[in-house]
Symmetry: none
Subunit: 228 residues, 4 copies
DNA sequence: AATGAATGAGCCTTCATTCAT
DNA sequence: CATGAATGAAGGCTCATTCAT
């Protein structure tokens, strides 16, 4: 554990006034690239996007290191922008959680899709290994979000469904090839991945990469078909 | 007095004052049983203890259901006491976390000790099963505490060490009997238990007991000796 | 998200957190005048500064009238700002004490410096008279701060040293001119000024200006060389 | 200054419910010794009085050392009694201030009365010297009380009047003998004594007895008749 | 009469969110 | 669009006071 004391948390500040819909907020407009139509607008967009990216990245780091409790002001300060700017891009703190989580999941979806094109029946294990190895940082964020009961399935059904679909495909293939125990469902699989994150995180930040891998391996071993 | 009210003063709220030694706080006095000497004294204690228990129990429930973010005022309200009473028993919020965590761990230690007296080489698995099955509530609290980087090893070294010792004993025996994979260390084992909690919790509160058991089983299977 | 509300979290209120470095707090940034570069920036600052001044002034009044015990909320209310605004300018209550005290001392330092440029060997007495006459309000604040053992010498060594230096200069000159008893040290002098404040204050707020002056005069007379 | 930070203060807790008259509270009954009529009652009284004395003494010490801000619980703890006992003797915190102040003043009144029986025209100075020398502890308490605008003249008119009367007598005699400047009134004199306390206190707790005496002397010198 | 547990108002501080510039 | 000052609702904690034992 990094610090003796505190960490992942969020304040549970009940917004009070501005709980409203976050619909036509700029950051909610689909980030299509097609909007790069006429010059001057695009120029500003570039700036704005750079800011958005920067805030997102800093937020990810700080959430991972200090938990969800870091203040938006702190994030703004470290990102070199004003608090107002953070709010322009992420109208509530929860929106920022969501963006961070989504960002990380999307990478996994990409990977799942890529692996889906191979023939390897054990592609599932490749994906799982990568997921589990994806580092303490990610694990920290996810673990914090999980503890905060921030449920991606509710908050961003699309992304979550995407991931589930990708994993399901790989799981089906593995089942077909007998590479995985027959009584394993996708839900259980996802839960176990979350568990792996937690386990690795619990082992401590100072834990060697090897030990993390070993923990992951043990869980993966549990997924193998049971010897009769 | 010049004015009817009060005058020059300041509250002397020393920021960080709560950090001071909490030694002679009632809840820190060793809970010796020798104090059960004469009736009236015991009677008074009983009331206080009842309150303490009640707060602890409510805190456990609320932490499990809503996370560590629940306010002490809320806990007090639900426990039917004033905020000051919570403070009397648990001088800081962290002390309350600690008490909740300790309370839960102590049960496990008891169980570990009990199992240590049997001859069963698979006693380890019995303990692990029980730990993992110990319910969503516990899992929720532990997961929340873990995510908050609340480190029991730092906060209550004694209890943590007790648990580790108990588990180590069982692990050694399992190793000797070849009931567990040879490359498993206690640290990994503890991490995996934490991971199991997270996994079960991730599966969702509405998950059936069976599914939880299945997830636990998968992790336990991973601990078995590898088939050569 | 599972539930509509929030989840596992804790607020991360670190007791004693306010003790952390207040370095890059706005009010700590050196008040350079160079920031008066371009209009819009200065405009914004003007608003903030107006607020700051207002809070400081109200605080001074209330501290003088009701003692250091007045709550920050009360000060905020009377200044027509929210508690957060007070905090923005004065991150802790002590910072506000300090600001009030510093504000008052700085005026004296100015005066001391001005008098230092004259040739009058009795300039010391002029300064002391002015200090003592500087009004019940100031006296009240200082007396309150002194009673609270708020030590300017520790809290703001620079300002305190400035004042001491100025007074020392004048005292030296007075010594040289034989205008003051030879056995008087700066420390004693400062203590006596504090005593004069207390005496005037003790005489009561409703005391006439004349009586205050008389009390001051008596103390000043004690500083004169002893008739042999 | 003893500690860098805080000190004399009181919390300004506005009692809310129990602001009522403190009349027929046991501690308000005149402490005549005649009530020692029948045995069993007298036995209890002795205990109670011992407790009262002890609390008073501890309160005096703590007020002097740490300011009026010390909590009643702390005082109770150090006095070896329960908080309830403190309240039995001093129903409000202010009552405790009053008792402490009164206790100290009464000693001075005794002294003044004793001196009033001598013929020494400079008896006034003897009294003043003693008052001023009466130690940092007393000064601390008085200064704290003064800063808190705790005005003995309002709170305990009798004792205050007693003291004033005694001092007036001595002042009159000194005036008659030409031992004191003719333009000095009792009110000024009392204010100056308060000022002397503050000055001595300001010089710091670590100040030598000699320096304290010197400061007192300077003030006393100011009281002497002006050389024409 | 003493104890000490309980109360609850209030304090200082934090921080998500809003809004004037 | 960005800035950063302002808001204000909590939150954790303290402590004078009350009351059951």
């Amino acid at each position: 554990m990094r610090r003796p004391g505190y960490g992942s948390e969020h304040t549970g500040r009940r917004p009070g006034y501005a709980r409203a819909d976050m619909s036509n907020h700029p950051s909610e407009r689909a980030p299509t690239k097609s909007s790069a139509a006429h010059g001057s607008d695009r120029e500003l967009r570039a700036d704005a996007r750079r800011n958005r990216e920067r805030v997102l990245q800093i937020a990810q780091q700080l959430f991972a290191r200090d938990g969800l409790g870091v203040s938006l002001d702190e994030i703004a300060r470290r990102a070199g922008v004003g608090p107002g700017t953070v709010h322009r891009h992420f109208p509530t703190k929860e929106a920022l959680y969501l963006a961070v989580a989504t960002d990380q999941i999307e990478q996994l979806v990409e990977e799942a899709k890529a692996l889906a094109t191979t023939d390897d029946p054990a592609a599932l294990f490749t994906l799982l290994s990568r997921m589990m190895a994806s580092g303490a940082e990610n694990a920290a964020v996810k673990s914090a979000l999980a503890a905060a009961e921030f449920d991606l399935r509710t908050a961003a059904p699309d992304v979550a469904a995407d991931l589930t679909r990708g994993v399901t495909d790989l799981l089906d293939r593995a089942h077909a090839a007998g590479a995985v125990r027959h009584d394993l469902t996708v839900e259980e699989l996802m839960a176990l991945v979350a568990g792996a994150f937690a386990a690795i995180r619990h082992a401590g930040a100072e834990t060697s990469h090897e030990r993390s891998a070993h923990i992951a391996q043990i869980i993966l071993d549990g997924l193998r078909p049971r010897p009769r």
